[in-house]
């Protein structure tokens, strides 16, 4: 899942970016409103973490412009202003959630999972595809009751495919939404990781869940 972080206080932005990356997110960071808005408009982020008091363009304006252009990206507003009118203003402008500073990093992760789940219309953190179970909260995967150990990148790829289960997902979409593929120079990196994933998920099972659609992309599901 790709997340845009717009926060101008450098120590906070640095820690947040590190923590989010370690939690399996692809993170782009910006320290001002103008750059943040430009980034938000150029890539399809799964979620935006938005500070309100940022230079050049304040957070509420960024949010308003984003929504005015019809962007449906989930937005979590993080701010040190926690008065009720501030929260109401943020939510009314189309924020999906509001997190007053300082917050527990775990809570930020939980809220992030929740807004991304809503975006992909998943009712809970637990996604089932046939006998495959993906627990987004614990980042645990098992198939047929047996736990499967995945690398961070493999997990991120599987989670994205699971969120869009039953749909064909293009390689470009995978590059956009899954951590660091964009940074990898090799053009076939997506195919390589799908191969790793297929080995861990499907090998030894009669029903294959990861399907290749020639010339289009991949899908996760019982039927191709």
């Amino acid at each position: 899942m790709r997340v845009l972080l717009i926060e101008d206080f450098e120590p906070l932005a640095r820690s947040l970016a590190q923590g989010l990356r370690e939690a399996g997110y692809a993170v782009d960071a910006s320290a001002d409103g103008e750059e943040g808005l430009a980034l938000a408009e150029s890539s399809p982020y799964d979620a935006i973490l938005l500070d309100l008091m940022i230079p050049k363009l304040d957070g509420l304006t960024v949010l308003r412009r984003l929504r005015a252009r019809g962007a449906a990206t989930a937005v979590i507003v993080m701010t040190a202003r926690d008065q009720v009118p501030d929260r109401v203003a943020g939510l009314d402008l189309g924020a999906d959630d509001y997190l007053p500073k300082p917050f527990a990093f775990e809570e930020l992760l939980a809220r992030l999972r929740a807004v991304i789940r809503r975006r992909y219309q998943a009712p809970s953190n637990l996604v089932r595809v046939a006998d495959l179970e993906i627990d987004a909260a614990g980042r645990a995967v098992q198939r047929g009751g047996r736990a499967i150990a995945l690398s961070a990148l493999e997990y991120a790829l599987l989670e994205y495919l699971a969120m869009r289960r039953g749909q064909v997902v293009t390689r470009a979409e995978i590059r956009e939404h899954v951590y660091d593929f964009a940074a990898e120079p090799a053009s076939n990196v997506v195919d390589v990781y799908v191969g790793y994933l297929r080995k861990k998920i499907d090998d030894g099972h009669p029903v294959r869940l990861i399907h290749t659609h020639r010339g289009l992309g991949y899908s996760l599901g019982e039927a191709p």
Partner: protein, 478 residues
């Protein structure tokens, strides 16, 4: 003295009313008494004339022919008369007089005399003395009056007069008291009614709470005596509301400024602890956390100082201090930050410049000005600390960018800053507010201006600046 306006006003009205009514009653009393006495005197004069008429001059000699008059004969409260011939010989006496004499009162012909007397039976009374020529019985027409004189004194008890007077006075005082009571009650009620608007305003003030201080009390229907009070009160309320709003904004800003570094501190620590890492990674996280804690500490120290300034709890200990060394000391914490942005710093203050001030407080001023310069001066720029001349203590000059004009007038206000979003705890609009506050207790003034060449100058004025004194002969002060 009671503090109730209603009681005071009523009391004043009642006292005036009592004085007026008492004076009125006394005057009426005196007038009545006089009128009654005059009435008595007229009767006495009539009686005296009647008695004098009983004496006549006759060719056979003067004689007194007593004709019975009831008042001189009754047993209860009798009247008395006595008549003398030529002022010496007793001519006649009323039957009631017995062997007593009445005083002659020194009456002269044609001028009757009146006096209050004690009657022979001990009663208080009033007497008239009449002295006139004897009547001539059957005298020839045109004959003159007799040459002989009769003196008549008639005396009568005054108890009737006094009883009448007492009755009238009783009524008079009863009426006066009644009028007084009625007027006092009316005054009390009228004053209470008149003070109604005051009570209404008081009730409105009582209902005020801190959240609606910006809503003025209505003045349209108020009497013109109370309107100015309420208008002044409204002005006070407006000032209070503004001050509360400032206070609320300040609290919100403070909480914002404290929460931001705290959020970074917490996230840094939580992320660091989320998984196993090499020692170097932990050390880096701890370094970050320490820097954040230091930053927060500086912010808290500034806030506390600001709060103490507000509470007037700051004491000033003045001594002579070398300015150049102080500036060097203050610059040290910003050396790293300045070097990272390639800022040049020059301390151009003369080595022997001294200031008589509280060095700890002046340190806050200089440190905040340098911190501000280090943060806001554009990369590759320069910062200089200079001696001023005249009343100027020192100047901190940086190479810009210039302070936006709209910011300049409120530069030293709390939480005004270059970019509304510039956060992180230290340059959050507290530093310059603190500079102004500390300067005020040191008797200094802080000012900022954009120079024509694009540089920015912060100027501290007002302290007694001098030169270090190697020997008394060289000492001079400007």
């Amino acid at each position: 003295m009671t503090r109730s306006l209603r009681l005071r006003l009523t009391l004043a009205v009642v006292i005036v009313l009592a004085a007026v009514l008492a004076t009125f009653a006394v005057v009426v009393h005196l007038v009545l008494e006089q009128a009654l006495v005059r009435q008595l005197d007229v009767r006495l004069a009539g009686d005296a004339a009647a008695v004098a008429g009983m004496a006549e001059d006759d060719p056979a000699g003067p004689e007194f022919e007593y004709e019975s008059l009831p008042q001189f004969e009754r047993q209860v409260r009798p009247s008395y008369f006595e008549a003398w011939l030529d002022g010496t010989r007793v001519f006649a006496r009323s039957p009631t007089l017995g062997a007593h004499d009445l005083p002659t009162l020194g009456a002269r012909p044609g001028a009757p005399a009146f006096a209050d007397v004690t009657l022979p039976d001990g009663r208080p009374g009033r007497a008239i003395a009449l002295r006139q020529p004897l009547r001539i019985e059957d005298g020839p027409p045109g004959a003159g009056p007799s040459t002989r004189l009769v003196t008549v004194v008639v005396a009568e008890g005054t108890e009737e007069v006094r009883e009448t007077l007492a009755t009238m006075v009783r009524w008079l005082w009863a009426l006066a008291l009644g009028a007084f009571a009625a007027a006092a009650a009316a005054a009390y009620l009228i004053v209470a009614r008149g003070l109604g608007p005051v009570r209404a305003v008081a009730a409105q003030i009582e209902r005020l709470d801190a959240d609606e201080l910006d809503r003025p009390l209505p003045t349209a229907s108020l009497p013109e005596e109370i309107e100015p009070v309420v208008r002044k009160l409204n002005e006070l309320l407006a000032r209070l509301a503004a001050s509360f709003a400032r206070e609320r904004r300040f609290t919100a800003d403070v909480s914002h400024e404290l929460r931001t570094p705290l959020a970074a501190l917490r996230t840094t620590l939580e992320v660091a602890a989320a998984q196993d890492r090499p020692a170097a990674a932990y050390r880096a996280a701890i370094r970050d956390a320490t820097a954040l804690a230091t930053q927060t500490q500086a912010l808290v120290a500034n806030l506390l100082m600001l709060a103490r300034l507000d509470a007037r709890q700051v004491e000033v200990e003045t001594r002579e201090v070398g300015l150049r060394a102080l500036v060097d000391d203050c610059w040290r914490p910003f050396e790293g930050e300045a070097a990272a942005r390639r800022l040049r710093f020059a301390n151009e203050i003369a080595a022997d410049t001294t200031v008589a001030t509280d060095p700890d407080k002046l340190r806050i001023v200089i440190a905040n000005l340098l911190s501000n310069a280090a943060a806001y001066t554009a990369a590759d720029g320069s910062i200089a600390a200079r001696d001023g001349d005249g009343r100027t203590l020192l100047e901190i000059v940086d190479s810009g960018p210039r302070i936006p004009d709209e910011l300049l007038p409120r530069l030293f206000d709390r939480f005004s800053r270059g970019d509304a979003a510039r956060s992180g705890g230290v340059h959050c609009g507290i530093g310059l507010a603190l500079v102004r506050g500390v300067c005020a207790i040191l008797g200094l003034e802080a000012a900022a201006e954009n120079a024509a060449d694009g540089s920015v100058c912060f100027r501290i004025t007002g302290a007694v600046r001098g030169r270090a004194r190697p020997s008394p002969a060289m000492s001079r002060a400007s």
